[in-house]
């Protein structure tokens, strides 16, 4: 993995540490931030140490991210983001789960897209999973989820 990747990641963490430290030392009442001050000081110390090592090219742990990895995960991350942050609340959990499940399967299932049997199998798996979730959380555990759009 390149030194640049290590430097960027360590730099971002150091920036978060400095920000947390700054908030801890400037916010009032001071007594409420006593423990966060201790923690954030150690946070910054270790983060700057890691950043320094990364800049000098001495940071080696981890595999980093490649462009192929990003290209592979990007569609899934987008679907996941839309599912968790938007669709689950606006469409309802079960509807969103069914759509997200089907889309993820369609994106990542290695079976050929042209075969009709593939789509039927995906639809059956999606329906089965959604039914299991409905039975488990709605009927058995009585979890009250946000209102569904379609039912």
């Amino acid at each position: 993995m390149s030194r640049l990747q290590h430097t960027i990641s360590a730099g971002l963490i150091a920036a978060v540490g400095l920000w947390v430290c700054w908030i801890s030392y400037t916010q009032e009442p001071a007594d409420a931030f006593l423990f966060p001050r201790m923690i954030s000081s150690a946070f910054v110390l270790f983060a700057l140490w890691t950043f320094g090592k990364a800049v000098l090219g001495m940071s080696k742990a981890g595999d980093g991210v490649s462009s192929k990895l990003i290209l592979n995960m990007l569609p899934g991350l987008l679907v996941m983001g839309i599912y968790l942050f938007i669709a689950a609340k606006s469409l309802g959990f079960y509807t969103a789960t069914a759509i997200c499940f089907f889309v993820l399967l369609s994106l990542y299932d290695p079976a050929p897209h042209r075969a009709a049997a593939t789509w039927v199998r995906r639809a059956i798996i999606t329906a089965g999973f959604t039914a299991v979730m409905y039975g488990l959380f709605k009927l058995l555990l009585k979890v009250y989820t946000p209102r569904e759009l379609f039912f």
Binding site: P29, F35, S40, F46, K53, G76, M80, A88, L104, Y108
Partner: protein, 363 residues
């Protein structure tokens, strides 16, 4: 307070090739634990979004930190059919398993000893005990390169630690009234409802209740063996599920599981953000285990630190209160020794003939 800090430092060497990154992960976990309202003054701390008003709930955080990175890892492999790992579930007679166990008493001993000791630390679960035991067993093993491929030594160490910590985890609850886990907190609540205070009161005035706890541990082990033998064959088949299906299933369960805790979308957002962040942290050598331990031990450490600071202000002063006395010195020395040992291990593993490649993960 020092006990909690030791817990975080011990974990510094876990699951990462870098001690500093392990400790940094622990600090991030401790910081996450401070988000929300301060218990004593009621002041808002690091509440940047209404979802964080109640702090970071431990269960959605655990789901996010452990499940979501796995989902993203599965997705990052793309839709190539050769990436699908089909594991053939073979029959493994009980006699063979027992023979494996008797041949590898060192891993069994390491797992049992570590599980028993970690079980005594409030707030540390079987996950942590298993990871520490796995890590130590790997360090002492002559076949450390086989760890991560289903090597029996790793499985024996992790599983024996996981089981060994269950009994000792009740010790802080029954002797000091310190609930080390949500389950222990429920047990404490049950005892208090019946007017029983864990500690000397429990053992002096209600010995039958105390013995019920102890005996239930014994019965639990036997029942676990029976259920374990029955269910393990079925559970192994989960590995045969295609990764695209597994990723979608885990994602769905993560959503419902994190929402169900408090019926809050805030928990879902926290779970998702932590999970995505943890995936990228793992790619750069940071580990979830110290972060989780920091998150769990953070409230315990802060409560004891604040309590100690208040007592110290009224008596001998903070420095003397926290840095003097035999027990304080012992715990500080233990903490420093654990970090020192981790640093030494890291240097040795880099210089040694069996040094891991730069990108390799420890566990």
């Amino acid at each position: 307070f020092w006990l909690a800090i030791i817990g975080v430092t011990v974990i510094g060497s876990l699951g990462t090739n870098s001690v500093v990154k392990g400790l940094l992960s622990g600090c991030i976990g401790l910081w996450l634990a401070t988000i929300g309202f301060d218990d004593i003054l009621g002041a808002q701390r690091f509440i940047f979004h209404p979802a964080l008003g109640g702090g970071v709930n431990i269960i959605p955080a655990l789901i996010g930190l452990f499940a979501i990175p796995q989902v993203i890892t599965m997705l990052s492999k793309g839709r190539q059919s050769e990436d699908i790992e089909v594991i053939e579930v073979k029959r493994h007679p009980l006699g063979d398993a027992v023979r494996d166990l008797t041949r590898r008493t060192r891993s069994l001993g390491i797992g049992t000893a570590i599980g028993s000791v970690i079980g005594l630390i409030p707030g540390v679960g079987g996950q942590i005990a298993g990871l520490v035991a796995y890590d130590q067993s790997k360090k002492f093993s002559s076949e450390s390169e086989r760890f991560g491929t289903g090597h029996p030594e790793g499985i024996i160490a992790a599983e024996s630690a996981n089981n060994a910590m269950v009994g000792p985890s009740l010790v802080p609850l029954l002797t000091l009234s310190i609930p080390g886990s949500p389950t222990a907190a429920v047990l404490l609540g049950g005892l208090l409802i019946h007017g029983i205070f864990p500690g000397t009161d429990l053992f002096d005035n209600h010995p039958r209740v105390a013995w019920t706890f102890i005996n239930s541990m014994l019965i639990g082990q036997i029942l676990m063996l029976v259920f374990g033998l029955y269910i393990s064959g079925l559970a192994a088949r989960v590995a045969q599920v295609p990764q695209s299906v597994m990723a979608a299933i885990v994602l769905g369960l993560a959503l419902f599981g994190s929402y169900s805790v408090q019926s809050s979308m805030g928990d879902v957002y926290v779970m998702a953000c932590l999970g995505i962040a943890m995936y990228f942290l793992e790619r750069f050598g940071y580990s979830a285990a110290p972060l989780v331990l920091g998150l769990i031990l953070g409230p315990i450490a802060e409560a004891n630190f604040t309590q100690g600071a208040l007592i110290a202000d009224a008596t001998v002063g903070r420095f003397e209160y926290f840095f003097s006395g035999g027990l304080n010195i012992l715990l500080i020395v233990l903490g420093v020794a654990s970090v020192g040992y981790s640093v030494f291990s890291e240097i040795r593993s880099r210089r040694g003939p069996g040094a891991e490649p730069a990108g390799g993960a420890a566990t």
